[in-house]
Amino acid sequence: MPPSTTRPKAPKVPQRPGDRIFAGASTGAGVLILVVLAGVAAFLLVEAWPSLTAPAEDIPGGEGVAVYVWPLLFGTLISAVFALLIASPLAVAIALFITYYAPRRIAAGLGYLIDLLAAVPSIIYGLWGFTVLAPLTVEPANWLAENLGFIPLFAGPPSATGRTMLVAVIVLAVMILPIITAVVREAFRQTPRLHEEASLALGATRWEMIRMAALPFGRSSIIGASMLGLGRALGETMAVAIVLSVSGGVTFNLISSANPSTIAANIALQFPESSGIAVNTLIASGLVLFAITLAVNMVARAVINRRKEFSGAN
């Protein structure tokens, strides 16, 4: 025992060097993350400031920062949200199939394949979208405009090149699918055998068992994985920059050639040719992206925490 110190009440627990080093290292890492985050926010604010205070006509487009950023923000949100709407149900379905339905040998191979797909760089997806997917969508887009044109999403006129928001959405969905699937599958794999058996012993069919045991158990992972995917889609740069033919404007029309760009893609395309206040404006748009990404993550946390009592963690 080490000699007692001046605080007589709390008996001193012997401190092992390993504990102390680990505690120090993990505290340090935690603090470092906060410092980096604050640093990034500060950098964005400082660099964006000139554009926020400059007269509107100096901003590219000539109508101020808000008017410049809004279509980009709209394009970012619409591409990411639609991509998520496609990818997450599909990811859950694939994860369920791998975990509960596929024969075991196929399941192992599929799981491995998904993990590999998650590692493909986004530029590859972009090239694929541009050269393969875009031409393929021209015909179906024509059909959509003709037959489902009354839905604003398919109002047309359809693009002749296929470099549309629709293709960007699909490319993004394909891109975030593996990462969502991988996380969700891992969650399903950890569904306690005890709870699976509890439902089966009550006479649940396999699908009922999935609904009673697997889905509730994996719920927060599904949300978390989706947010991960959403974050990746929001920030995706190259794939969108390559695929999308941009003309600005705010529209829900997914299949025309007049599309809003996204914040990240716009920065990548504009930055090399920008100088002065234009750079500050681009950084201001980056600040907006930073803020919505943070907001998305905070909302996700809140959703996950809301039913923590029932999460199965206790």
């Binding site: 005890l194 009550l202 158990f217 009592e309």
Partner: protein, 259 residues
């Protein structure tokens, strides 16, 4: 309700491994049948063949026949899901659904059975099941709370309530008290004595006093030898097994002269 089970020459396999061989027994309705025996002799394995949970293990299978009254449980046209709806099971570790409230846990089986019950009817069934499981008084004020917030003993009684809410014909229990303190154990033993008025109960236990206290019939399982499959050595009235068993192995086991 409360049916007789008849097992005829049952061999139980895990893939190519023969775990239990040649079990034949009759389980009487409205009684408690206890299964005892050393670890690894196949009591759980046997119990899980009675509600067709065994075949959930990949490549697991059985040879032989099991009848519930006159229905062949392993008949070609029999859906195992239906068997499990008629034969309830309580596990060694309490396993209420952590994502469900106490109320929903008890209602879970009813919802599965696709009975479209009105709220009032459902409330009544839930109350009846919880009362039958001697849990109603303790939880009636917190039905919307998660089941995982209860004590271990309460959770186990919740699982019993969940199992009996669907009014099964038979109730299987695999060491239901082994994770519980003596008082919770007492509560569950009392409960078994009440439940056997209405149900056929089969319980696996390592606690010989428990078998003696609650059961009418006791079956002794043992390994035939090292590396050999398990077998049912004998099954008889509990008083007889614990006083004058007919096999020497049984006598050795219950008097603690085992192995």
């Amino acid at each position: 309700m409360a049916k007789r089970i008849e097992v005829k020459d049952l061999d139980i396999y895990y893939d190519k491994f023969l775990a239990v061989q040649g079990v034949s027994m009759t389980i009487q309705p409205r009684s408690v049948t206890a299964l005892i025996g050393p670890s690894g002799c196949g009591k759980s394995t046997f119990l899980r063949t009675l509600n067709r949970m065994h075949e959930l293990v990949p490549n697991a299978r059985v040879d032989g026949k099991i009848f519930m009254d006159d229905d062949d449980l392993y008949g070609a046209a029999v859906d195992p899901v239906n068997v499990r709806r008629q034969i309830g099971m309580v596990f060694q570790r309490p396993n209420p659904f952590p994502t469900m409230s106490i109320y929903d846990n008890v209602a879970a089986g009813l919802k599965l059975n696709n009975k479209r019950l009105r709220k009032a009817e459902m409330d009544e069934v839930v109350e009846r099941a919880l009362s039958a499981a001697n849990l109603w008084e303790e939880v009636k004020d917190r039905l919307p709370k998660p089941g995982s917030g209860l004590s271990g003993g309460q959770q186990q009684r919740l699982c019993i309530a969940r199992a009996i809410a669907v009014q099964p014909d038979v109730l299987l229990m695999d060491e239901p008290c082994s994770a519980l303190d003596p008082i919770s154990t007492q509560a569950i033993e009392d409960l078994m004595l009440e439940l056997k008025e209405k149900y056929t109960i089969v319980i696996v236990t390592h606690n010989m006093q428990q078998a003696a206290r609650v059961s009418d019939m006791t079956g002794f399982f043992n390994l035939r030898g090292v590396g050999q499959p398990g077998e049912l050595v004998e099954i008889d009235e509990t008083t007889k097994i614990f006083s004058t068993p007919s096999k020497k192995a049984t006598e050795d086991y219950i008097s603690g002269r085992f192995g």
